[in-house]
């Protein structure tokens, strides 16, 4: 097997093992209801993690996405409350705003040669602050169209609900896989992650690619915000605090190297589902406190990073031999 596939294989293996443990302990977890809920509850996280995967593959980081999701929810809720616009038009407006926001950050990173960490940190403050400026309350969304979106699901055998937002997440992952692994843009992203100087020598347009990467992440954050607003039927400026870190953790658990240049979008989906599974397990168990989630996710992160380190050493020594 190609050694580059090892991290992905390990991710999938651990996910299947976790599933097995869960099912042995709680046989009822093996139902389409649990699967449906797993997809629905983690839809927004999965979407934003796709954007984060692309950013991390390029060797960057985007700390602003959690704030952008919160801003999106508030933007949608306030627009629907104060104007007579149809939600679809509001969605389109929002995606334009969030994509240009991401593009702006990408431009700053490239033009000022500043670390992505700092630029997107400022972006995090800015997006959260913009959400506060729109409203400081939780704004409910009451719209016929939202009821329609809420009720859009396919009943799977076993009465599990495959909701619209779950499907949107799966589709986003599929699109993300095509964009990263099958397009010229994706190749440029991997090249950038391998090293900026080398990428430039290869003929990658570094500036354009950087702007596009962060614009893509902004687009995903906006889409995630839409899904989150459907999921909660409200907009709240304090929502999804720290989601950027959960997304980064999902990407790392999914087998993508944080140094950039190696990883898979599909692995990120597995990473998101693994984290969702831990949460579901804790809900099923009932006696474990919620803070164990954080500790277990931390330990999982450690395990994956050490695993990757070990694999890297193995492949390097093989190449050297």
């Amino acid at each position: 097997m190609n050694p580059r596939l090892f991290p992905l294989a390990a991710t999938i293996g651990i996910f299947l093992l976790a599933c097995l443990i869960c099912v042995i302990q709680f046989p009822y977890m093996l139902s389409t209801r649990v699967v449906g809920n797993l997809l629905t509850d983690n839809a927004y996280l999965g979407i934003v993690a796709v954007g984060m995967t692309v950013v991390i593959l390029s060797g960057g980081i985007d700390l602003s996405v959690g704030s952008v999701i919160a801003f999106s929810g508030v933007f949608i809720a306030v627009m629907l409350r104060d104007t007579g616009l149809h939600p679809i038009i509001v969605f389109a407006l929002l995606l334009v705003v969030s994509t240009s926001f991401g593009a702006g950050m990408g431009w700053l990173i490239h033009a000022l040669a500043m670390p992505p960490f700092i630029v997107t940190l400022a972006g995090m403050f800015l997006a959260r602050g913009a959400a506060y400026m729109l409203t400081i309350d939780s704004v409910p969304i009451n719209h016929v169209f939202y009821d329609l979106l809420d009720d859009a699901y396919v009943l799977m055998p076993g009465k599990g609900r495959l909701t619209l937002i779950g499907v949107v997440m799966l589709l986003t992952v599929a699109v993300g896989m095509i964009v990263t692994h099958r397009t010229r843009f994706g190749a440029s992203v991997f090249a950038l992650g391998g090293g900026e100087a080398a990428a430039r020598l290869m003929g990658v347009k570094v500036g354009r690619t950087t702007v596009l990467i962060y614009a893509f992440s902004g687009l995903m954050a906006g889409l995630s915000g839409i899904v989150f607003s459907v999921y909660t039927s409200s907009g709240y400026p304090l929502a999804t605090v720290g989601t950027e870190l959960t997304a980064i953790a999902a990407v790392v658990i999914g087998g993508t190297l944080l140094t950039g240049g190696a990883g898979f979008v599909f692995g990120t989906l597995i990473g998101v589902l693994t984290m969702g599974l831990i949460q579901t397990y804790i809900v099923f168990d009932g006696s474990l406190s919620s803070w164990w989630t954080k500790i277990i996710i931390g330990l999982l992160l450690l395990a994956f990073i050490l695993l990757q380190k070990g694999l890297l050493r193995v492949t390097v020594s093989k190449a050297g031999a």
Binding site: L258, G298, L306
Partner: protein, 341 residues
Amino acid sequence: MTALRRVTPQLLTLAALVALITLFFPDFLRIEVINGRLVGTTMDILKRGAPIGLLAVGMTLVIATRGIDLSVGTTMAITGAIAAWSITQGYGLGGALALALLAGVAAGLWNGMLVAIFGIQPIVATLILMTSGRGIAQLVTEGRILTFSHDGMAFFGSGDLMGIPAPALLWLLTAAGVAFLMRRSALGMLIEAVGVNRAASALAGVNATVLLIAVYVASGLCAALAGIVATADIRGADANNAGLWLELDAILAVVIGGNSLMGGRFSIAASLLGALIIQTIDTGILLAGFPSEYNLVIKAGLVLIILVLQSPNLSQHWHRLRRAAQRRREIAVASMKETGQ
């Protein structure tokens, strides 16, 4: 003299901010003596800035080695929780402080070990403690807000010595002590050497591994002090909110202080000025009477302006312009001499 020139941009920024706030709030710089203690907005900034100032000291050292420590906020939560827990368990002030500092050292050892021995990227290595640390803190407090009443402990949050608030004194002394240690011994230079090129410094005989671990331990200790101050201030440990996002403010303080995230030369004084700038922005926005909803946007705007002004690209252009101007002057002088002859 060179040290002063190094911090000139930060001093100018701070002065501009103070001038701006004084425009909106004329009493900003007034300090009164009430009941033998200094009272005023500037004193308040020094006191409120204690956690971020303390964190910035440790963060400066970590960033100088080309690292980053994302876990300091959660380390604050853990150490604060342990301090509060020890007080409620009756271990006394000495025991509580010792245990809290020990926890800070343990957190630093953990991070340092992952970075220096396992060779994990600092941002990922410290992310592990950042995500799981609040869980550990909640384990200590059992998910509640652990309150206590102990005057000795509360001194670190609200006490004062010779009229100066104890937290302000604590961070100023810590910073002075660390800066003295760094610049009066070879430690500072060795840390810079590791930051510039770890392999080369190791070849030159620097024990980079021990130095890296020590730097993360120092950061953990600073976080422990900050955690004690935060816990003493509210006389309770809040595992969820103590030090929340403070690591980001601390990193920002170091960057505003003009220290490069790529490691190498560092200035603790400049980082502290960065911390003061951030705290002044926070307090100033409130004082200037803006609605609190505007805080984050104004803060983001100001931070962006400061960062753009300090951006390496911009300063390169500036130097190029200056050099070009100088060359033009030299040519002019030379041609004048020629015509004179």
